[in-house]
């Protein structure tokens, strides 16, 4: 992290509410004109003045806030849970701030308060994307404090997501069990022994994530399994279908092989990954599938 003071650049833009207030102010002015009431004029201008004074307050509220998203990998066709951190560098708490992005799912995130010199973590649910590398468009922290007349926003640094092919296809057959890697071969080969919950790792499938816990603000938890050994090679040529279908099939197999606890390698046109296991390897394989260029 650069050791440099970061002052967030707050942008302001008028909201629809300012149009609504404008209409009401115009009506107040009409009444004041009609009745030639200076006091009504005074009140009209006072409301306009308060609206004007709310603009610097909207700006000040977001001064010192930083938005950062931890790049998260996801599968195509599934909502993407993007953890976003709102960090407040100021000595005053930041009120009613919420991260948003252009590609969010229907439900916007509720606004939160970020305490002085503190931070808040919010998980954004983004709409499903297509396979490949994609940018989170318009990720920002916004606030309509104090009167909803202007939306103040601080942009996040550009964040890229890797979206894996959707893991669709035939499940990897267990009996395709290749040469056991483990010399002892104690039979503990099936990867379906439930070993409790563990933290979700970035890039992992979100199929077993406990979403209800996420909604309650808990970390993402997934079921994990222990499994016996085995080794296989997942080949482009073994998968059937068109190019995207093959990538989806391979993604399916990667997940299956990983859940069985096997060691697996990947052979794609122009790319080859040696057999290995574990979350890092799985991510490597899935990213290779995500970024595979098909002709």
């Amino acid at each position: 992290m650069p050791d440099r003071q970061i002052t967030s650049r707050v942008r302001l833009r008028p909201s629809w509410n300012s149009i609504r207030l404008g209409v009401v102010l115009a009506a107040m002015a009409m009444a004041a004109i009609n009745y030639q009431s200076n006091a009504a004029w005074l009140l009209t201008f006072l409301v306009a003045g308060i609206a004007g004074a709310s603009v610097p307050h909207a700006r000040r509220n977001l001064l010192g806030i930083e938005v950062a998203a931890t790049p998260a990998d996801a599968f195509a066709g599934e909502p993407i849970a993007l953890p976003v951190v709102l960090r407040n560098r100021g000595l005053v708490s930041v009120v009613a701030v919420a991260p948003t992005a252009d590609v969010m799912l229907a439900a916007p995130t509720p606004a939160t308060t970020v305490p002085a010199s503190g931070e808040a973590q919010v998980t954004l649910l983004l709409a499903p994307r297509r396979r490949g590398r994609c940018r989170v468009a318009g990720l920002r922290a916004t606030s309509s404090f104090p009167f909803g007349l202007v939306d103040a926003l601080v942009r996040a640094p550009e964040t890229d997501l890797i979206v894996y092919p959707s893991p669709i296809g035939v499940t990897l057959a267990r009996d395709r069990a290749p040469v056991p890697v483990d010399a002892t071969g104690d039979g503990q080969r099936s990867g379906d022994d439930f070993a409790g919950h563990r933290r979700h790792l970035s890039g992992e499938s979100q199929r077993h994530v406990d979403w209800k816990a996420v909604a309650r603000g808990r970390p993402m938890l997934v079921k994990s399994y222990t499994g016996g050994g085995g080794e296989c090679r997942l080949r482009w040529d073994d998968a059937v279908g068109d190019d995207e279908g093959r990538l989806s099939q391979l993604a399916r197999w990667v997940l299956d092989a990983e859940s069985y606890g096997w060691h697996y390698g990947l052979e794609l046109p122009g790319t080859s990954i040696d057999p290995d296991g574990g979350p890092a390897h799985r991510q490597r394989c899935l990213r290779a599938l995500a970024l595979q260029v098909v002709t």
């Binding site: 050791d3 003071q5 509410n17 609504r20 207030l21 009401v24 107040m28 009409m30 009444a31 004109i33 009609n34 009745y35 030639q36 009431s37 200076n38 006091a39 009504a40 004029w41 005074l42 009140l43 009209t44 201008f45 006072l46 409301v47 306009a48 003045g49 308060i50 004007g52 004074a53 709310s54 603009v55 610097p56 000040r60 001064l63 010192g64 066709g77 599934e78 909502p79 100021g90 005053v92 708490s93 009120v95 009613a96 701030v97 919420a98 799912l105 916007p108 995130t109 509720p110 606004a111 939160t112 649910l125 309509s144 404090f145 104090p146 009167f147 909803g148 979100q206 979403w211 996420v214």
Partner: protein, 669 residues
Amino acid sequence: MSAVPSLPSPEAGIGHRSLAWLILAMTSATLPFLFTLPLWMPPLLGGIGVWRWRCERRRQPSPSTLVRMLISGGVIAGLALSGSIGLGLEAAVPLFIAFLWIKLLELRGERDVLMGCYLSCFLAAANLLTDQGVLRTVYAIGTVVIVAAAALHFQIARSATAPAIGQVLRKAGLITLQGAPVAGLLFLLLPRPVVDLPLDRGHATSGLSDRLNPGEIANIALSQDPAFRVTFPDGQPRDAESMYWRGLVLTDTDGSVWTRSSRPDPLTPLPRLPRGQREDPRVEQEITLLPHQRHWLYALDAPAVWPDDVKAYVGVVLFREQPVQNPLSYLVTSRPERRPVEMTAPYRQRTLTLPKVVDPGVIALAGEWRARAAAAGDPGARGIAAAGLAWFGEQGFTYTLEPGVIDGDLVAGFLARKRGFCGHYSATFALLMRLAAVPTRVVIGYRGGEWNEPGGFVLVRQSHAHAWTEIYLDDERRWERIDPTSSVTGIETRRIASEGAQAIDDNAAAADGWRRSLRRARQWWDWVNATWENWMFRYDAGAQQRLRDWLGLGGLDRIGAALAALGSAVLAVVVLALLLRRRQPPRDPARVLYDRWCRRLADAGCPRAPDEGPLAFAQRASVALPARAGEIAAVTTAYVAARYAPQPLGALVALRDAVRGAGSARARG
């Protein structure tokens, strides 16, 4: 595939506390209209508020669309039935209030809450349309602060725990104060369009009407509202008690009610008196007439010089083209001595016309007055009037504002009861004089006034409303004022009676002192009102032009002036933004402490390069200043911890201690 998780929607609720704030703001805006609403409406609106609040509190869904539509329809029907729907702004207020409150039932998210807030502001302004008094204006500003507090509360409460009442009010008051300069600049500088909008302004009149109906005048006489204020440019305080403020002249009567002519007005405007003519005592007055929605003006009896836009008619009554809908200031010069005027035959006929039915006893009494005048050796108009006043005195007539209901003939009833107020006295006296063949008319206006010491003006209240008569003296060819009320009962009686139920305790000196200070406080309050109205009402396009001239912007046209005003308002917002920016601590506190320590090391001969990271710098500094290696390690560790710690507060304290410890250790060493 897992289902799309359902996150709690932020639109799910407003929070019962925020809702209570909104209802408070709406109540504050609605309250001034309470008595203009149909009786059934306030309980209904209150019920809607409480109902909606309970739904929110119990997290129940708000009422269904069907229920809402039924209530809306019912309210509209109710308003229509009670005749509370009309065209024009004032007539639309009950409907507006109804919709504002029914909207509560379908309040969902930020948009609806804010719309409720904006509309409450409109309602607060609507209360200032017909009356711009100090209290009303202050109240409206208070309402705006509460509305701002409601909006703030909603914003804060939906992202954190609900803030305290005082906190929200303070913040709302602060933003209001910060908005005040913008408001002031716009008010002073922004040229206001002078357009006659085709909107109905309502017809709520106040003060005297154009007929003398004894019952009506008694109601007015109980009102302490100001009617007009008078200043005398020559600065001399007058004997306010004895002043007659002429309003309308009534010539037609049906025996009890006196009215202006119902026939097309045959009267021609009087020529204005040339200004140079100064043959007799004159009194110059500047009168600020509060809006009474009528066309006529009041002036000291009898006006001789009046403004150009005012026309005077026979009987010396002043009329204006437009009704007085805003406080109106005008200069009038009056002459206590009446000029001789030619009496035309039709006018003599009119001022002698008798009602169709007159009680025989009253006719007999008129004959008795004539006989007494002839016996006294003065059978003329003056003699008959003197005889009549003497008769009233002998009969023991008294003054009261509550004479009770008189059935049947008003004049005969009053003569039998021997008690009444100026309306009864004038109507009766005028009728008797006409029966005695003396041309007589009734004048309505005000009598007296209160000298306001702090403001240097005479305040005439509605309670000073008065009616008197004028008889025509043929030999002097002029009208003479006869005030039967004060001649018979004395003005003091009238004044005390008009003060109504105020207990007078002459014995208790303490109570007297209290009364004096109360009177003094009231005078000051009258002065505050007068100053406010002078300022508020007189600040018009001309005053704006004078201000622009003073600022050196006199040459601007309307658009230029508008742009200048808007520019100054924007500038005020920018200044506010700069002020607010400074209030935000610009730097990370850990960085401030660290920089302070770095300056110390720079003093010791080891400055940190701008792009040098803290760890690299620590390494280099430890080599350069080996004696302070321990200090360097301690501060750097604490700084790194403070910058990247999950809970920076504890780490900050550690850093502060490390920097301080380094300083004190060095000071000791």
